[in-house]
């Protein structure tokens, strides 16, 4: 226990070192998540557009209209 808190203290500078590492981690992970999500959204949108145009499997909008 003693050694862990001593390690985290980083010679009295833990208050600067750890926040810096946390900020870097948060920003890098957030950028990765945002980039992946926008890729997924774009791919899904492209797929619905393509299917709608080909008429092979109708997208949600046309299905709803057919049901009415």
């Amino acid at each position: 226990m003693e050694t862990i808190s001593q390690y985290l203290n980083m010679g009295g500078h833990g208050g600067f070192i750890w926040p810096a590492y946390i900020i870097v981690f948060v920003v890098m992970v957030a950028l990765m998540i945002v980039s992946r999500r926008s890729l997924k959204n774009a791919q899904e949108e492209l797929e619905t557009l393509t299917r709608g145009a080909d008429g092979r499997s109708p997208d949600r909008e046309t299905t709803r209209e057919a049901e009415q």
């Binding site: 010679g11 500078h13 070192i17 810096a20 590492y21 870097v24 980039s35 949108e45 145009a53």
Partner: protein
């Protein structure tokens, strides 16, 4: 030869193959870098444990400048040869570079307070780095400011090229003027003035940040390719008339 890789379809095939390798390399390098950086390396004789801030601060700053050079290079290729992929690469790089610049500024501030005694000073190095962040933000804003994406990428590419003068200014600011920031330790004449035990985690983290950049870059370029196709389809639909 250049044209072969500038083809988005061919690029997507290549990206599919290399992306898992890049992702794996990033995780391995990051793990090793953090292990050596936070556990298996000695403190510095002057700065003590705060030297560990270097392992994230310096790679962030390097990547900030590397991304800007890549951005300016892509913009030049897009302006001169009008390669479709160069424009997408520029647009995909800008947010990553802006993130690294932000991180370099924040971690530098957190390092400056305990070591220099101040969060921020307006010396040539720190100020030119802040200018770099504004250049990135300006590029992103200008790119999205036009309804016509082609005009947007043209004007923002010119801004990116004009802003490139800032990159050598950042690099050499510490040699040309008196600054609070110390001169270069690694990339300089006569070899690095960093002991191998401290240099190892620094280089590992720099490699990890580089592969992280490539990883996110691939994802973002794929997004840009998909968005381009969506735009093309929507235009096609609008022209043929949408029969719902």
């Amino acid at each position: 030869m250049f044209h072969r890789f500038a083809n988005p379809t061919r690029f997507l095939k290549l990206a599919d193959v290399i992306q898992p390798w890049i992702a794996g390399a990033t995780l391995v390098l990051l793990g090793a870098g953090l292990y050596f950086g936070l556990f298996a390396s000695p403190p510095d004789y002057q700065q003590g444990e705060t030297v560990r801030l270097m392992y994230i601060h310096v790679p962030s700053a390097w990547m900030a400048m590397f991304c800007y050079s890549a951005l300016a290079g892509s913009c030049a290729v897009a302006l001169i040869w009008k390669h479709p992929l160069a424009d997408l690469a520029a647009r995909a790089t800008a947010p990553i570079g802006a993130a690294f610049t932000f991180l370099a500024l924040v971690t530098g501030s957190l390092w400056g307070k305990p070591m220099w005694g101040t969060w921020w000073v307006w010396d040539a190095r720190l100020t030119s780095m802040l200018v770099l962040l504004f250049l990135y933000l300006g590029y992103i804003a200008l790119n999205n400011a036009f309804d016509d994406p082609q005009r947007g990428s043209k004007s923002s590419a010119i801004l990116a090229l004009v802003g490139f003068v800032n990159v050598p200014i950042i690099k050499f600011s510490v040699d040309w003027w008196n600054t609070l920031h110390q001169p270069a330790s690694v990339v300089k004449m006569g070899g690095p003035s960093i002991h191998a035990d401290i240099l190892l985690p620094l280089l590992l983290m720099a490699a990890a940040f580089t592969t992280y950049y490539l990883w996110v870059l691939l994802i973002r370029i794929r997004t840009e390719v998909a968005l381009g196709k969506i735009r093309a389809r929507q235009m096609q639909k609008a022209q043929t008339g949408y029969k719902g």
